[in-house]
C-alpha cells in the first residue's frame, strides 16, 4: 500500500466491494469487508522480565511491535545462535513474520532437548529446571500452548552472567533426574537415565540480513515500469529499464518535510548533471497538498536538473508498478535504489550514493 492510497482511504467513508460468502459470520463479513477497524491498530508487546514478577514494557523500542493483528506466535532458535527468534502469523498483509533476535550475546544460554523413553521421546510434558546464578527457572516441553500455536520441543535457558547451569528434569511421569552441570553456550541432549548431558554440535549461523524495510524488490530483480504523477497530478509513465539504458539509474525517494532529504538535494542535482553518471529519477512521497512546494524546492535545490515526480493517487496506477517496488509506509527516506543498464536492482543506499 502506498502513502497516496492510504491518504485516499482516510477520506473514504465506505467501500463497495462485494464480499463473497465465506466462513465468516455475516455481521463480521459486513464490517471487515467494509474495512472497519475493531479493536485494531494495536502493537505487539514485548515485556522484559526482571525476575521478580515485574516487567519493563519495551514494545515501542523493540522493532518487533508489528500492528498487523497477530494471531499465532512461536519463539524458537532458528539459527542456533542461542537466542529465541520469533515467528508470528498475522491476520493482515505481510502475514508470515520472522523476527531475528538481536538481544543474545551468543554465549549466555543453555539449550536443551530431551530423549525420553518410549513413543513420547521428545519428553512432551516434562519440566526442566535450570539452576544458575542463585535462581531456579523451570520450563515445560509443550506441544501446543499459548494460542493456536505449537513451539518446538527444545528449550532455551538464559543464564545471565552465570558461567554454568545445573539441569534437572522432571519426566512426564514425575520421575526426577539430575543431569549435573553444563557450561554457558552448551547445546545438550538429556537422555533419560543417562544422568549426564550429552553435547550436541554447535552450528551457529545467522538468519539472513534483511533488505531495507519496505523494499519489495530483491537485489538482482528487474525494476517495474512506473506510473507517477507530475505536480498537477497528470500521469508520467517511466520505465526504469529505459531511463537507465545508457548509464544506469538512481531512483531516489525523498520528501520536502524531511530535513535530511532536503540537505541531499544539491548533491542529487550534481549527480544528475554528471554526463558520465547514472540518470536520476526523484520520487517525492509528499502528500498532495505539498506537491507545489516540493516541486519548487527540488527545482531550486538541483538547479532545474531533476524533474519532480510524485506518487500517483490512483491505486490502479500503483498496482504492478510502484507497489511492486516499495511499500512507502515502511520505506525509510531518503533511500536511493541503484539500477544497472539492464534495469536490475544492484544496490540500495541510505542517501545519495557517491
Amino acid at each position: 500500500m502506498v502513502a497516496s492510497s492510504l491518504d485516499l482511504q482516510v477520506e473514504h467513508t465506505h467501500r463497495d466491494e462485494e464480499i463473497e460468502e465465506g466462513f465468516m459470520h455475516p455481521w463480521a463479513r459486513e464490517m471487515y469487508g467494509r474495512g472497519v477497524t475493531f479493536n485494531g491498530k494495536e502493537r505487539d508487546k514485548l515485556f522484559l522480565g526482571r525476575g521478580d514478577g515485574r516487567f519493563d514494557d519495551l514494545s515501542d523500542l523493540s522493532g518487533a511491535d508489528s500492528g498487523l493483528d497477530g494471531r499465532g506466535l512461536v519463539a524458537a532458535d532458528f539459527d542456533d545462535d542461542g537466542d529465541l527468534d520469533l515467528f508470528a502469523h498475522h491476520l493482515q498483509r505481510g502475514r508470515h513474520a520472522l523476527l531475528r533476535n538481536e538481544l543474545g550475546d551468543g554465549v549466555s544460554f543453555a539449550k536443551v532437548r530431551l530423549a525420553n523413553d518410549g513413543p513420547n521421546w521428545e519428553g512432551v510434558g516434562a519440566t526442566v529446571t535450570a539452576y544458575a546464578g542463585g535462581a531456579a527457572t523451570s520450563q515445560v516441553v509443550a506441544r501446543g500452548a499459548g494460542f493456536i500455536s505449537c513451539g518446538p520441543a527444545e528449550l532455551v535457558f538464559g543464564l545471565g552472567a552465570a558461567k554454568s547451569a545445573t539441569l534437572e528434569v522432571r519426566w512426564p511421569d514425575g520421575v526426577v533426574e539430575a543431569f549435573g552441570s553444563v557450561d554457558r553456550g552448551a547445546r545438550v541432549l538429556l537422555e533419560r537415565g543417562a544422568g549426564e548431558p550429552k553435547a550436541l554440535p554447535a552450528r551457529p549461523t545467522r538468519l539472513r540480513d534483511p533488505l531495507p524495510a519496505g523494499l519489495d524488490l530483491d537485489v538482482g530483480e528487474l525494476g517495474p515500469d512506473l506510473v507517477l504523477s507530475d505536480r498537477d497530478a497528470a500521469p508520467l509513465r517511466r520505465s526504469i529499464r529505459e531511463l537507465g539504458a545508457e548509464r544506469g539509474l538512481l531512483v531516489h525517494f525523498w520528501a520536502s518535510y524531511c530535513e535530511p532529504c532536503v540537505r541531499e538535494l544539491a548533491r542529487l542535482g550534481e549527480r544528475a548533471g554528471d554526463p558520465d553518471g547514472p540518470a536520476v529519477l526523484a520520487i517525492s512521497v509528499d502528500a498532495r497538498g505539498d506537491w507545489e512546494r516540493a516541486a519548487a524546492l527540488l527545482e531550486r535545490s538541483t538547479q532545474g536538473r531533476v524533474a519532480a515526480h510524485f506518487v500517483s493517487l490512483s491505486d490502479a496506477d500503483n498496482a504492478g508498478g510502484l507497489d511492486d517496488l516499495v511499500d512507502l509506509l515502511r520505506l525509510p527516506i531518503p533511500t536511493t535504489l541503484v539500477f544497472d543498464r539492464e534495469g536490475r536492482l544492484v544496490r540500495v543506499d541510505r542517501g545519495v550514493p557517491d
Binding site: V10, I19, F23, H25, Y32, G35, V36, N39, K41, R43, K45, L48, G49, R50, G51, G63, S66, R71, G72, V74, A75, A76, F78, D80, L84, L86, H89, L91, H96, N101, E102, L103, D105, S108, N120, W121, V124, T129, Y131, A132, S138, R143, A145, G146, F147, I148, V156, G158, G160, R170, D173, G174, T205, L207, R208, D209, A213, D218, A255, Y257
Partner: protein, 580 residues
C-alpha cells in the same frame, strides 16, 4: 467487548450548525491562552451529557476523526492535517516541553519525562510546524495513534463540544537509524462542525520520550525466505475466523527447526536450510492441502521417531447448529519430512469448530493424546451469556491407542465441556507425575483439570481460584519469578473501550457486576505457583496490559535469566478510520 454488532447510529441533532463554534473553541481552550502555556486545565463541560448511549456515540465520532488524524500524521501530511484543527486553535506544542527527569531502561534504552507545565502555547500553524519539526526528519514513521481514553461533552446544542482524554503513541526511526518513541497523555478540546470534529485546544498532561540506539529484533521475513503477503482480512479467500496459527519442529531430522503455517487457501511448510534461509516445500512434502486449518501441532503419533502433524478445522454451521467441514486431520511423517494424509485411519472423525490443539499424555501410558479445544460458531446464534456461555462446540480428548488409532474419551475423562474454548495448556503443575490441563475459554470461566489418574480429571479451577472469568484467548505454563515452580499465564484482552464504558456505568447496586466486568477488560492474568497450588499474581504487573493479546510466549528472550513475555495482538485493523 468482543461481540458487539455494528452500532446503530442515533441521529445527532446537534450536528447541523456551528455558528458559535469559535466562541466554544475559546471557551474550551481558555487556560492555555493565559500564562504563556503554564496551563490551567482545559475547561470541562459544566452540564455534561450523561446518557451512556449518547456520550458513547459522540465519543465514537471523535475516535473516528482522531484515527484519521493519526493516519495523516503517519504519512506526514502536515498541510492536510490542518483540517483537523479549528482555525483559532490554541494549545500546547507537546514537543516543546523541557526535560524533567530521565531514567535508564534495560538494554541501553533511555526514557525522558518532559515537564508538561512548561510547554509553550501555539496557534494552528505553530502546531503543524511543531509536528513537522519533530517527525519530519525521521527516516520512517512507524506508528501514530491518538487513542481516546475518555470523553465528556457539553449538553449545549448546537454546537456540541467536549473535553477528551487522549493518549498519544508515536514511533519511528530517527535520522541516525535509532528508534524513538513518544508516549503522552493530553486533554483535547473538541468542537463539532459539519466537516467533523475539530481540535480547538490541547493541554499536555504528560509526555515521555524513549530512545533505543540498537535494534532488539530485526524483521528478516523476506531475506530468510518466509515472507507471504496475504490479502487484507475480510476479502474472499481470507475470510475465515478460524485463526490458523503455526507449528515448529525439525520435521526432516537435520536438527534445524522448520515451520508449518496453515492458511485459508493452502498451507505453507518452510524447511530450514541451516544457512539462515528457508524454502517453502508444503506441496512437495504433502501438507499443502486442505487449507483452512487452525491450531497445528507436531508430535510423534505412532512412535516411529518422526514428528507427525495434526491440524484442526473451524467448520461451518448448518441450520440445525451442527457443524460441517474437514475433520481434525492427521498427516503422518513417513520419514525425513515426507507427509501423508492418514486422517481416515485415525479411528475418530472429529468435525467441530476447532481452535487450538494440544498433545499430551493424558493416560500416563507414554502415548501422546490429542486435546481438541473447540470454540463455537456464531452463524445462527451467539454465545448465550457474556459471563458463562455454554453453547459453544464441545471439546474432545482423543486418546492415542498404541499409535494405531484414536478413541474419543472426552466424557470418561471428565473433560466434556461446551464452553467457548480457544486454547489449552498441559503440564504437571502439582508435581504428582500426572499431566494436568488448563483450558482457556471465551465468554466464561476457565477450567483447571487436575489429572487424578486412570485417565480421569477433576476440575479444580474454583478450588484454586484460577477461573479468570472473562474472555481468555490462551494460556501458558512457565516460570515468571524464577522460583522453580510453574506459574500460569492467562492471555486475555485488555479493552480501552471496555474500560471507558465501564467507567461510566459504575456505582451503586451495580458495583460488583461492574468490578467483575472490569476484570474482564483488564487483560492478561498471572497466577504464581506456590506450595498450596496457585496464587493470584500482583495486580499491577505491566505485562497485564498487552492489548487484545492472542499468541503469547513466556521465554527468556534477552538471556538474562528472567522470563520475558511477548504477545501479538490487535483484533481487526481495517483501512477505514474507525475504531470500535
Amino acid at each position: 467487548m468482543r461481540q458487539s454488532s455494528p452500532p446503530s447510529k442515533p441521529s445527532i441533532a446537534a450536528a447541523d450548525a456551528d455558528a458559535s463554534a469559535a466562541a466554544v473553541v475559546h471557551a474550551v481552550a481558555n487556560g492555555v491562552a493565559n500564562g504563556g502555556g503554564r496551563g490551567t486545565a482545559l475547561a470541562a463541560p459544566k452540564r455534561p451529557v450523561v446518557l451512556v448511549r449518547d456520550v458513547e456515540f459522540l465519543t465514537q465520532g471523535v475516535v473516528d476523526r482522531l484515527t484519521a488524524l493519526s493516519s495523516k500524521m503517519q504519512i506526514r501530511d502536515f498541510t492536510g492535517a490542518a483540517d483537523w484543527f479549528a482555525d483559532d486553535f490554541l494549545g500546547h506544542d507537546p514537543f516543546s516541553a523541557p526535560q524533567a527527569s530521565a531514567v535508564a531502561l534495560p538494554r541501553g534504552a533511555t526514557s525522558k519525562a518532559l515537564d508538561p507545565l512548561r510547554a509553550r502555547a501555539v496557534d494552528r500553524a505553530g502546531m503543524l510546524d511543531a509536528w513537522r519539526a519533530r517527525i519530519g526528519p525521521w527516516r520512517r514513521v512507524e506508528h501514530v495513534h491518538l487513542k481516546v481514553r475518555g470523553a465528556e461533552f457539553e449538553q449545549t446544542k448546537p454546537p456540541s463540544w467536549g473535553r477528551v482524554d487522549v493518549s498519544l503513541e508515536l514511533i519511528g526511526e530517527t535520522a541516525t537509524g535509532g528508534r524513538e518513541s513518544l508516549r503522552g497523555r493530553m486533554w483535547l478540546g473538541v468542537v463539532y462542525s459539519p466537516a467533523g470534529w475539530r481540535v480547538g485546544g490541547l493541554e499536555l498532561r504528560e509526555l515521555e520520550v524513549r530512545h533505543q540506539r540498537e535494534p532488539m529484533f530485526t524483521d528478516v521475513s523476506r531475506s530468510a525466505g518466509v515472507a507471504h503477503a496475504g490479502l487484507r482480512f475480510g476479502r474472499p479467500g481470507h475470510d475465515s475466523d478460524g485463526w490458523q496459527g503455526l507449528a515448529v519442529a525439525d520435521v526432516d531430522g537435520d536438527g534445524w527447526l522448520d515451520v508449518f503455517v496453515p492458511s485459508s487457501l493452502r498451507n505453507f511448510l518452510y524447511i530450514n536450510g541451516g544457512d539462515g534461509q528457508f524454502t517453502e516445500q508444503a506441496e512437495a512434502r504433502g501438507v499443502a492441502l486442505p487449507g483452512g486449518g487452525t491450531g497445528p501441532v507436531f508430535f510423534d503419533v505412532d512412535g516411529d521417531g518422526w514428528v507427525d502433524l495434526c491440524l484442526g478445522y473451524y467448520g461451518r454451521e448448518l441450520p440445525d447448529r451442527s457443524i460441517e467441514g474437514s475433520p481434525v486431520r492427521y498427516f503422518r511423517n513417513a520419514g525425513e519430512g515426507r507427509f501423508e494424509d492418514r486422517t481416515e485411519t485415525m479411528g475418530e472423525r472429529v468435525v467441530t469448530a476447532a481452535s487450538s490443539l494440544v498433545a499430551f499424555d493424558s493416560q500416563g501410558d507414554g502415548w501422546l493424546d490429542l486435546f481438541v479445544a473447540a470454540y463455537g460458531r456464531m452463524d445462527r446464534a451467539r454465545n448465550d451469556s457474556w459471563l458463562e456461555a455454554t453453547n459453544g462446540a464441545p471439546n474432545h480428548l482423543l486418546v492415542n491407542v498404541a499409535g494405531e488409532r484414536f478413541v474419543d474419551r472426552t466424557r470418561e475423562a471428565g473433560l466434556f465441556d461446551t464452553r467457548w474454548t480457544y486454547a489449552a495448556a498441559a503440564a504437571d503443575f502439582d508435581r504428582d507425575g500426572r499431566q494436568d490441563l488448563y483450558v482457556a475459554n471465551n465468554f466464561g470461566s476457565n477450567r483447571l483439570f487436575r489429572n487424578v489418574g486412570d485417565g480421569r480429571f477433576e476440575d479444580v479451577a474454583e478450588k484454586l481460584g484460577v477461573e479468570e472469568r472473562g474472555n481468555s484467548m490462551g494460556a501458558l505454563w512457565g516460570d515468571v519469578n524464577s522460583d522453580g515452580r510453574l506459574d500460569l499465564y492467562v492471555v486475555g484482552p485488555e479493552s480501552a473501550a471496555g474500560k471507558r464504558v465501564l467507567g461510566r456505568v459504575g456505582g451503586g447496586a451495580r458495583d460488583a457486576q461492574v468490578r467483575e466486568l472490569m476484570r474482564m477488560a483488564n487483560g492478561n492474568g498471572l497466577f504464581l505457583g506456590s506450595d498450596s497450588g496457585l496464587e493470584d499474581g500482583p495486580d499491577d504487573y505491566p505485562a497485564r496490559d498487552a492489548g487484545w493479546a492472542f499468541g503469547t510466549v513466556l521465554a527468556d528472550l534477552d538471556l538474562d535469566g528472567h522470563a520475558d513475555v511477548f504477545c501479538v495482538n490487535g483484533f481487526v485493523t481495517g483501512d477505514l478510520p474507525e475504531d470500535t
